[in-house]
Symmetry: C2
Subunit: 132 residues, 2 copies
DNA sequence: ACAAAATGATACTAATATGGTATCATTCCT
DNA sequence: AGGAATGATACCATATTAGTATCATTTTGT
């Protein structure tokens, strides 16, 4: 049970690199060299980030990616949700049959509390805060 | 990213049922009827629980499973670890190459804090507390 | 003793999620 | 015009999760 998958981890690294050079446009080629991430995979990640408005993209010779918004406006939870879907620690496995057990719902409630905490924590982490 | 997988969820339900009838020995047949969990799958789960000392087993006609320890001594985290392995939210994806980035370690530190909280929370939840 | 009812052990299969590739189209700069 | 870049999309490989199947062993009732 991983909070952060490889996609997200790579994406964080890539975005951080781009933030540290935000005056330039960064090509996949450069990122591959610096981060040692498989090129086609990294491309997929960057495309997703650009589609979701985290990065801007520039085609053609000399093109690449650049920040689309300030680093303190990009939250870790954004990247997690792009690559891993909505943050849900919890999910009732008995949606179909009416869940007859009090205990189950107690479990749910407790997990929900944990989930809330994790969500709040992740929402407070910005890319900027990972760079200091 | 699920905190609790289906195995664990089923196992919690089964153990709860057994706790609520702890004066008797409960057979898989009865549990299947009550919980609507596929029989061979449930059997696998119960065997694991008995191997790990959460349940005791009784073979032969009239046999089944029973509690091996009091419900307030069985922790949710125990069941999670039986079915999902050690609770680790975090894992550095760059163990091989020396991780050169301060940011990565900052990320790690933050995730570690969240992990600690989740672990502590789960350690405090007993099966007994799910029954009240 | 023996048959039925239960678990023990273990190997296998199916479905889904994750991690990664490949390819062709499109755009932009020189 | 042509090369260097991203856009879009479909595909493949591996691992994890969920579930099945089967035979051996033990216990109990008759």
């Amino acid at each position: 049970m991983k909070l952060i998958t490889r996609d997200t981890d790579y994406a964080v690294r890539a975005v951080c690199f781009i933030v540290r050079h935000k005056e330039r446009v960064i090509s996949v080629t450069e990122l591959v060299k610096k981060l040692k991430i498989p090129r086609p995979f990294l491309r997929k990640l960057l495309q997703a980030l650009s589609k979701k408005g985290v990065l801007g993209s520039h085609r053609g010779l000399g093109g690449g990616f650049s920040l689309a918004k300030p680093a303190n406006k990009i939250f870790l939870v954004d990247l997690i949700e792009i690559f891993q879907g909505p943050l849900k620690l919890n999910e009732c496995f008995f949606k179909k049959i009416t869940c007859p057990n009090v205990k189950r719902c107690l479990l749910r409630k407790k997990i929900d509390n944990i989930e809330r905490y994790v969500q709040d924590s992740l929402k407070s982490i910005t890319i900027a805060s990972l760079l200091k």
